[in-house]
């Protein structure tokens, strides 16, 4: 492990509701090199998001926007907004597991 995370290569990682039933998050990367790391499906794909967030892989949508150095991820909210077990009404803190995802080890 390199000890570094996705956040180390990003300007901002954020999450937010997209309506009451979806959550969406964006990785705004510092540069094309950082974008290349997170846009690589060998590093970040639907099964990885499914594991990080406990959701079904086939419900996840990933958008890659090279002109903005952005990867955007959307999936149905696992807990409906405002229900008894919703602890993040705006889903504004759910970027953290993605931001703290360890970067791939590039060897010595």
């Amino acid at each position: 492990m390199s000890g570094k995370t996705v956040a180390d290569l990003a300007l901002e990682v954020r999450s937010k509701n997209a309506g009451p039933f979806w959550v969406t998050m964006e990785l705004f990367m510092r540069d094309a090199a950082g974008y290349a790391v997170v846009a690589d499906p060998g590093f970040l794909d639907e099964p990885v998001i499914a594991r990080l967030y406990g959701v079904a892989a086939d419900t996840i949508q990933i958008f890659r926007l090279p002109e903005l150095n952005v990867v955007k991820i959307s999936f149905p909210r696992p807990v409906v907004q405002g229900s008894l077990h919703d602890r993040d009404i705006h889903a504004g803190q759910h970027h953290v597991p993605l931001a703290l995802l360890p970067l791939p080890d590039r060897g010595p």
Binding site: F63, L65, R87
Partner: protein, 458 residues
């Protein structure tokens, strides 16, 4: 009525959010043709739709409206407010209309005010449902009539057409119920003949005011729509729009950044180009609007899930913090047993959530962090069929939240309640239950337009 361009002034992302008054004056100097502002959102949860009350303070809405009504009157341009009162219920429209009336009287302004209502009756929607004209949107399933009947309030999201009808009917000010964020800004440019692609894309970019600029806290934006595209600039001269800040706004609160469905069709921006005109204005071209074969209107509904009571204590003792998940599991078990003994209620008859703030309250099992916490706030949130039961359950939990030890302790600790009494009654709790769209024959079919003369036009 044809013209070369239309300038849309959006002072803030939400009415009541506040903005420097001089930014609006600057927008008028730049030749604004219409002022458009969103008054609501579902983003703060189902409570506002369920209860029909606003998230914003009346004084904050009045402060913003005073500046905007003066500006609209001075420049002789329309003011459009969408999703009045946060959720766009009829009560929300009437609330904003009342504040508007007061401000107009205090300012001695004679503007003609139209209201557009978007609240729906379950029985009316059941007729659409019976005819197979209500469709689920992902991830929802088919709609059951009982779900419609269970809602305290149901609103339909209007497109630009009901707002346009109110403007055409002579309104200076349009106070709309639930509307798409974009319809509020798109209505006037579309009415005077601007092309759909640039208009809808511009409306999406400006719907949150300064969010598409380099400093979202500095006030709103002005978008100029013309035959081939649109130009956007911040109202504060010290702030900039950059191609990145504008393009990035298509990502904000949208599941899909390339295609956005509106009632009349889909905004397609995959082919759009973003070009800096200078160091603070951005030109956007190449946006398209693809008309849909069927006009659809989205529904939102909220129903009561029960009544809630909250209690909050805190732990600083390192011994308990070292075994915080064991302690919380014991608390859950003891509450369940004591409630069964005292109230005779089984777990399916009520529900509660124990949240360990400072440990893993926000992310739960998803949290990647493993360090022990310094202190933990323990929130107990109880949901029961009525308020009295919810509070009784929280009170039964009170001695546990004060004195529960970990299994290896031989004395009773006293934990740190945050308030006296420890329990707070939260009243009714709500949930969003509709995520469906209705096929309608006319864009105005589900909306009631009250023109300034108070005639009711369908």
């Amino acid at each position: 009525m044809t013209r070369d361009s239309v300038r849309i002034l959006v002072p803030t992302g939400m009415l009541g959010g506040g903005f420097p008054p001089e930014t609006v004056a600057r927008g008028l100097d730049l030749g604004a043709d219409v002022i458009a502002v969103d008054g609501g959102s579902t983003d703060s949860g189902p409570y506002y739709l369920g209860s029909g009350t606003a998230k914003t303070a009346a004084a904050a809405v009045a402060r913003d409206l005073r500046v905007l009504l003066r500006a609209a009157a001075a420049a002789g341009i329309p003011l459009i407010v969408g999703s009045c009162g946060t959720s766009g219920t009829d009560s929300g429209v009437d609330w904003v209309a009342g504040i508007t009336r007061d401000v107009l009287a205090e300012e001695g302004l004679a503007l003609r005010v139209a209201t557009v209502y978007s609240e729906q009756r379950a029985a009316d929607l059941e007729e659409y449902l019976d005819r197979g004209r209500v469709h689920p949107l992902p991830p929802a399933g088919d709609l059951d009539p009982a779900t419609l009947e269970s809602c305290r309030h149901i609103v339909a999201m209007m497109g630009h057409e009901p707002i346009e009808a109110a403007l055409a009917g002579g309104a200076d000010v349009v106070l709309a119920g639930r509307a798409t964020d974009t319809a509020v800004a798109a209505a006037y440019p579309l009415m005077v003949g601007m092309p759909a692609g640039p208009t809808w894309h511009a409306a999406k970019i400006v719907e949150c005011g300064g969010q598409c600029t380099t400093n979202p806290r500095a006030g709103g934006v002005l978008a100029t729509v013309d035959a081939t595209g649109f130009t956007v600039e911040p109202l504060d001269p010290a702030v900039a729009c950059t191609p990145t800040s504008v393009a990035a706004h298509m990502l904000y609160e949208t599941a899909n950044p390339f295609a956005m469905r509106e009632p009349a069709g889909t905004i397609m921006v995959a082919g759009a180009t973003y070009r800096a005109l200078d160091d603070r204005r951005v030109r956007v071209e190449g946006s398209r609007f693809e008309p849909a074969a069927q006009y659809t209107v989205k529904l939102e509904g909220a129903r009561i899930t029960g009544y809630e009571t909250m209690s909050f204590t805190a732990i600083r003792d390192p011994h308990i913090l070292g075994q915080i998940t064991t302690w919380a599991a014991l608390l859950r078990k003891m509450i369940t047993e004591w409630v069964a003994q005292t109230l005779g209620l089984e777990p399916g008859e009520y529900a509660f959530d124990i949240r360990l703030y400072g440990h893993d309250a926000v992310l739960g099992d998803l949290d990647p962090e493993t360090r022990p916490p310094r202190e933990v706030g323990v929130m107990l949130l109880v949901n029961a069929a009525d308020q009295r039961t919810a509070t009784a359950i929280a009170k039964i939990a009170n001695p546990l939240m004060l004195h529960l030890p970990t299994p290896d302790m031989d004395h009773l600790p006293s934990l740190a309640f945050a308030t006296s009494p420890a329990e707070t009654e939260r009243g009714a709790a709500y949930e969003f239950v509709l995520n469906h769209a209705v096929d309608v024959d006319s864009p105005t079919a589900l909306f009631r337009i009250h023109l300034p003369e108070q005639s009711d036009v369908r």
